[in-house]
């Protein structure tokens, strides 16, 4: 699946997007964040406060317990500050 990062999450991860293949045991957004955090220091830093991170699956906001099965694109970003 494709993963995108925005704002300070992007800066901390060090890339805007990538394709990842998490193991089948990773089923929810929360589990994906935990799995990514274990991949490197950069991810651990980006996701150090997982409750702050907002997630979208295929362009729609989702909660941390949302299932990631079938997702084409998952995005992680801080709370929004537009307008």
């Amino acid at each position: 699946m494709k993963v995108k990062y925005f704002a300070w999450v992007r800066e901390r991860v060090g890339k805007a997007e990538e394709t990842i293949e998490p193991p089948a045991t990773v089923r929810t957004v929360e589990e994906l964040i935990a799995w990514l955090s274990g991949q490197s220091e950069a991810y651990a830093y980006a996701f150090e406060k997982p409750k702050v991170i907002r997630t979208a699956i295929d362009h729609a906001h989702v909660k941390s317990d949302a299932a990631i099965a079938g997702a084409r694109e998952i995005a992680f970003f801080p709370p929004m500050t537009g307008g």
Partner: protein
């Protein structure tokens, strides 16, 4: 992104270029005799923030989702209030104090619907449309933090 409905056209644009409020109102009301009210909200880059003086703002967005998220709320606004037109323009890029950032236009037969819908759209633009502001000031550069007051402003629309 535009909706096909002729009675309440919805126009959503995300662009680097500035917008002309008078021109956008003229486009929204052209050849219409059923519109009795247009409410216009513009958000402008402000120099004075809570802490340091802001020298510039950079707006980043999530292309694709930003347009879709605004459209979802524009659709909700048109189902909640009797609207005759909606225009939302959000700029991205780097802005100096005094420059336009966002425009919301709502048109209706009577003013109440247009006022309510404009406020509703702005409250959701701030809390749910994927845009992020980075501030530059004399003390450095940093991402703007979300305000609880914006979440509270959006939450009141979900109460009965």
């Amino acid at each position: 992104m535009s909706s096909p409905a002729a009675s309440c056209p919805v126009t959503i644009r995300i662009q680097e270029d500035d917008f002309d409020i008078a021109r956008e109102i003229a486009v929204l009301t052209k050849s219409r005799t059923d519109i009795g009210a247009v409410v216009s909200f513009s958000g402008i880059c402000r120099a004075d923030d809570d802490s340091a003086k802001v020298a510039a703002l950079t707006l980043e967005h999530y292309p694709g989702m930003a347009e879709e998220e605004i459209m979802r709320h524009a659709d909700e606004a048109t189902s909640r209030w009797p609207l005759n037109g909606v225009t939302v323009i959000h700029r991205v890029g780097r802005f100096m104090p005094g420059q336009n950032i966002v425009l919301v236009l709502t048109a209706s037969q009577h003013r109440q619907a247009a006022f309510h819908a404009a406020e509703f759209l702005m409250d959701y633009l701030k809390t749910s449309a994927p845009f992020w502001k980075k501030e530059e000031s004399a003390t450095g550069t940093g991402w703007v933090e979300a305000h609880a007051r914006d979440d509270e402003a959006a939450a009141r629309w979900t109460k009965s």
